[in-house]
Amino acid sequence: MASVHLREISKQYPNGYRAVKGLNLEIEDGEFLVLVGPSGCGKSTALRMIAGLEDITDGKLVIGERTLNDIEPKDRDIAMVFQNYALYPHMSVKDNIGFALSLRKVPKKEITTRVNHAAEILELSPVLNRKPGQLSGGQRQRVAMGRAIVREPSVFLMDEPLSNLDAKLRVQMRAEIAKIQKSLGITTIYVTHDQVEAMTMADRVAVMKGGHLQQVGSPKELYNSPTNAFVGAFIGSPSMNLFEGTVEVKTHETVLHLGTTELTLSEQTRQIYPNINTYHNSKIVVGFRPEDLEDAAFVDTSENAQGYFESDILLAEELGAETMIHFSLDATPVDVGDPDAVEKVGANGAAVARVDSRTTLTAGTRGKIFINTSRLHLFDASTQQAIKSR
């Protein structure tokens, strides 16, 4: 087990494309760090540089006390789980798991013991003599895990290991991987584009975009205090609603104009953003999460006299425990540059609210949506960085 230090790590390909730009990360011994970001953000490249599968153009990679920039993958004492598992198709499960040990000339008896132990942990004992082609997707994923854990390496690297599984199995394996990592206590760097995976598994999450590290912190920190609009939108599902707004500082209150809607900032919000008054008459980016909105019918307005939208309801998606209400908003939506965003929240002036499932709001009607203005996220319009808070 070891800590991992990435110091100003960069990757530039021969064609000049810079995939990773000055990445700094300190990963503690035994920590589970998730690298998350949209396609092409450089997360997999960063992981492959740690593995030694890509050369490091600039910067320094240190695992434990050793600088590993020019060390071969086999000498880095790391194990990796690949997105497609990369199981050797001609070898049995047993041989797949034990291959690394046999290359290291571990005695056969010990290989058998360690393979059997790994198989027990991963419930693979009944299929040890099968070939990968005879296994289900979940079993293959387990074999890939087995191949990694049997080595007892200093660091686990996992490159989107659950992306080939169906949704149900993914949830199950997510929990299993987290459990195994906790029990083994091996430093783990896990790459995914799925923010739910990142939030549920990680001790800390590092969000990347365009080769740059955007923010690193605990899942709660990222959710509650995103450093910029991109992180705000990327973390959380459905994504944070982001619209352009204008600040108006009045004698006794500060008001945000979101299109024709006026939101009076709560005392709490003004305390969180003490600099907000410097944005008087300026544009800012206003973010509010779907879960901080509610159907007015279920909110005591006298106690939550904060703000509301009176809007056309465009779509109501009933999910059983809750309902997603898509409603129109005449403010300008903000694009944070997420290349994977198929349906941008805020597109065509629509916002999303996660409301009580008892709601009677339906598409085509007009409804009243309350917003908890204590939970607003405010960003500078030009930089999209969070306005300095307390």
Partner: protein, 314 residues
């Protein structure tokens, strides 16, 4: 009376069980047409042009016929042709030996050499495309052209080799060395073929397998030996089959050099000499063809059946 079908809209029509049989029968008709055109026609050609002539060759191998006149002139002689080939024909044993030698040498030299070149080219060397084209070029030449080129190289008086070595060796005339000289030419041609097949195989190997092996602790050689090569098993089978066929049907190159005589005898030459030309011994030539067919099929069938059995067992 209005039928229920007339009440249905287009979209209903697709969903109802009543509409389904119509669509199924249409699909069956189009399937039949596809089957006939894509399977039936090629199968018909294959049977007509390969299997029936092969079967007729087997039958003719037990006869004496000069190929002239009707089938009434065909005389059944039992296994006389085979007896004659193995006891009287002095060229048969050298021809069979040369064919087997051809097979062994191509397997032992061209296959590993082609693999080595493919591995080197797969490393994306500078100028790799040029080397690839240069090494593959001999494959595009017919064996007759290959024979002609190597005649220029081996010629006793004007050949490149004797000029370079200052020697006076009769590379193509000396019966103890001419088969080896020809085999060098055959290797030169066949290696390019093997190389391109292995290169395609190497390109098809999942890159992450090599990476996983590297992380597991394998050196380049161990990764190749334990992971890449076994994964290319289908390519190995194709190469075995192709090399066997190439070795046993070799004809043009020796025919160009000296007509397949004086140390360059091959079964294919004996067949051509007996079936065609003045001899017109169709039955005798057919017996030689059957022997060649058996020699070709034995290694291929035994290899494939062993592999299939292994796969079924696993």
């Amino acid at each position: 009376m209005k039928s229920s079908a007339t009440k249905l809209t287009d979209s209903d029509d697709l969903m109802t069980p009543k509409a389904a049989p119509v669509r199924r029968s249409r699909r069956r008709a189009s399937d039949r047409l596809s089957l006939i055109s894509m399977v039936g026609f090629p199968a018909f050609l294959h049977i007509g042009l390969v299997w029936i002539p092969a079967l007729l060759s087997v039958i003719l191998s037990f006869t004496r016929w000069n190929g002239i006149g009707g089938v009434d002139n065909i005389e059944f002689v039992g296994i006389d042709n085979y007896k004659s080939i193995t006891t009287i024909n002095t060229e048969f044993v050298p021809a069979l030996t040369n064919n087997v030698l051809w097979l062994v040498v191509l397997m032992a030299v061209s296959t590993p050499l082609g693999l080595l070149l493919a591995v080197l080219l797969d490393k994306n060397l500078k100028g790799g495309r040029f080397y690839q084209s240069a090494l593959y070029m001999p494959v595009m030449l017919s064996l007759a052209v290959v024979g002609f080129i190597w005649e220029l190289i081996y010629s006793r008086e004007t050949g490149v080799i004797n000029a370079a070595l200052g020697s006076d060796v009769d590379w193509l005339g000396n019966q103890s060395i001419n088969i080896w000289a020809i085999l060098v030419a055959a290797i030169w041609r066949h290696t390019g073929y093997v190389m391109i097949l292995y290169l395609a195989g190497l390109k098809g190997v999942d890159k992450s397998l090599k990476e996983a092996a590297a992380i597991d602790g394998a050196s380049s050689w161990q990764a190749f030996r334990d992971v890449v090569f076994p994964v290319m098993k289908p390519v190995n089978i194709v190469i075995l089959v192709i090399t066997t066929i190439e070795s046993l049907r070799a004809f043009d190159i020796v025919d160009v050099i000296n007509g397949g005589r004086f140390g360059l005898e091959l079964i294919s030459v004996l067949i051509t000499r007996n079936v065609g030309g003045a001899a017109s011994r169709v039955g005798y030539g057919s017996a030689l063809a059957v022997i060649l067919m058996v020699v070709s099929l034995v290694p291929i069938i035994s290899f494939l059946s062993t592999n299939l059995r292994k796969e079924q067992a696993s």
